[in-house]
């Protein structure tokens, strides 16, 4: 089974986000990029599937700052082949990314393509279903489990309220992963260093990155503080006492 995981890097939300001087985009100067969390689950699911059914796992990432670290970490967890797509990725949307990935995947001919079901900056829709259309493959998203047998996969598709649909899909297919069957495994940094010596990142040029297919943003801003929480200040014991008073008044104590 030839499995490809298409990943992207996104701004780390733990860091403070600033809006640039145009007022229409995030200020890239201080942005720290990390792997999209759900793409990390997609990598884990690919490795679990490989461990169960055999095959090869290829990771494809755009060549942005931090991509090498993410790719080597994936290899240390069990990915076999690493590809980064070289190009000018600044301000590139998911439509353009899907086209660049499709160009690569048409030659790689995977039976299974995994992506995270969404990323927090997908303003023009998730990559997975777009990629599926460009490749002529079926797509199922919100997936939290995959079992492969022959030319079919049985996947667990999540619905609100904890309902799961067991859905059968004919391969090749693209799946949008919500969660891997097990939490993404941890690998020690020493193993990543070891992998860096033995695994090579293949560089391929990205197809033309034309960011059409989305909307033009005329203004970006922080949510207006309408009814923001009343903040409780002070030492820990004072805050605890204030909370207890609030709980009493509210009738829960």
């Amino acid at each position: 089974m030839n499995i490809v995981v298409a990943i992207k890097l996104v701004p780390d939300l733990v860091e403070e986000l600033a809006i640039d001087e145009t007022g229409t985009a995030l200020d890239a100067t201080f942005l720290r990029l990390i792997i999209n969390e759900l793409d990390n689950h997609a990598i884990e699911q690919a490795i679990l599937s490989k461990e169960h059914s055999g095959g090869q796992v290829t990771i494809v990432a755009p060549d942005v700052e931090g991509a090498d670290d993410v790719l080597y970490a994936a290899a240390a967890r069990g990915a076999d082949r690493l590809i980064k797509l070289a190009g000018d990725w600044g301000g590139v949307n998911n439509h353009a990314m899907a086209h660049a990935l499709a160009a690569v995947l048409k030659t790689a001919q995977p039976q299974l393509v995994l992506t995270g079901v969404q990323a927090h900056n997908d303003l023009d829709g998730a990559v997975g279903p777009q990629l599926a259309e460009l490749l002529g493959m079926p797509y199922i998203g919100y997936v939290s489990g995959v079992s492969l047998s022959g030319d079919k996969a049985m996947v667990r598709k999540e619905y609100p309220g904890g309902l799961i649909a067991q859905v059968e899909v004919t391969l090749p297919a693209v799946l949008g992963i919500q969660a891997a069957e097990k939490p993404p495994r941890y690998v020690p940094i020493s193993k990543v260093r070891q992998v860096m010596k033995t695994t090579k990142i293949e560089e391929q040029p990205a197809a033309e990155l034309e960011s059409i297919g989305g909307a033009t943003v005329s203004r970006m801003f922080r949510p207006e503080a309408g009814e923001r929480a009343t903040m409780l200040e002070g030492e820990v014991d004072e805050v605890a006492a204030k909370l207890v008073a609030i709980f009493k008044e509210h009738g829960v104590l």
């Binding site: 986000l17 990559v127 797509y139 919100y142 891997a180 943003v217 970006m220 801003f221 949510p223």
Partner: protein, 321 residues
């Protein structure tokens, strides 16, 4: 080209999802501005009864046995044809397990631009989307001549999309639905665990800020002092630190406790969606910019690992005394 607004009705096992009514409410606003009609698009098998309370000028109903359950393959084919034939100016989907499988596919297929995470739409055709886990809003004009939109809840109330007057239902023949590559085999009901968090009056919720499984103990202690239970946001459940029965949010349960005490939860939209009906939300998070403070009544940025033990003690005293 028409000025009509299509709303793709999401329904699951005989019930229309709330997001469908939210979209109808948004469509009414937009239709008022552009002068078009609100057209609800309902796909199903023996599902026309679901049209009864939709606040739409017209319902296009497509019936086929292959549409009894949602599958991306069948929905994509039916909707591609309907959009080509009717050329609406906007097509609204939920940013959900249904709309998310279809709208981006159609965007690539039909070369129609897509706006996701859309929270509100104005009569002038402006959209406001909520991105970066709810930390940033992006505003712009809906692209023309046709735009696909996926919507998140929060901007409109479901009641605004309901009507006591049943709309006109127009049946449309489905295209050939053969050779489908996706099939629903069965459903697995949500596990009924030891507790039903949707019915608990006091919930102590833990998020990524709890850091590891061992630390959940302090939240358990606090919940015990209150006589409440512990629940969690997605990252905690994905790590296997708490079972899926305790998951609150888009993919878990919606809760409505008297008190929702959020510990180390950032309040991403996917989580916030499940706690809107809480009577009172109190949030503890060291990031003053965390979106949870936009939905909480009270908040504090003190370290939860210092606060929770102190609070547990004081709650125990208050209960005892």
């Amino acid at each position: 080209m028409s000025q009509d607004i299509f709303v793709i009705i999401e329904h699951l096992r005989g019930r229309v999802a709330d997001i469908s009514y939210v979209m109808l409410a948004a469509a009414r606003v937009l239709a008022g501005g552009v002068g078009g009609k609100v057209v609800a698009v309902l796909l199903g098998s023996e599902a026309d009864g679901l049209a009864a309370d939709l606040a739409a000028d017209r319902v296009l109903y497509v019936e086929h046995p292959a549409l009894a359950d949602f599958t991306s393959d069948a929905y994509q084919r039916v909707l591609e044809g309907l959009i080509r034939d009717n050329a609406p100016c906007a097509i609204l989907f939920g940013d959900t397990s249904i709309g998310g499988d279809v709208a981006p596919w159609l965007s690539a297929r039909l070369a129609v631009p897509l706006v996701s995470y859309c929270r509100s739409i104005t009569a002038e055709g402006k959209f406001v989307s909520q991105i970066c886990g709810g930390k940033i809003m992006a505003e712009g004009d809906l692209p023309g001549p046709t735009a696909l939109v996926t919507m998140v809840p929060g901007g409109f109330k479901p009641e605004q999309g309901k009507s006591a007057q049943p709309p006109e239902v127009v049946r449309v023949s489905p295209p050939a639905l053969e050779g489908l590559r996706v099939a629903v085999k069965n459903y697995i009901e949500p596990a009924t665990g030891d507790v039903d968090i949707a019915r608990e009056p006091i919930l102590v919720a833990v998020g990524r800020g709890i850091q590891n499984q061992d630390n959940i103990e302090i939240a358990e202690e606090l919940a015990k002092a209150f006589g409440g239970v512990v629940c969690a946001s997605r990252p905690v459940v994905d790590q296997g630190w708490l079972p899926a029965t305790r998951l609150v949010g888009k993919s878990g349960k919606s809760v409505k406790p008297k008190l929702y005490l959020a510990l180390g939860i950032s309040g991403a939209p996917e989580h916030a969606e499940g706690i809107g009906d809480s009577e009172m939300i109190v949030a503890v998070n060291m990031d003053p910019a965390a979106p949870i403070f936009d939905v909480a009544k009270y908040g504090t940025t003190v370290d939860l690992f210092e606060l929770v033990p102190a609070l547990t003690e004081q709650v125990q005293q208050a209960k005892g005394g």
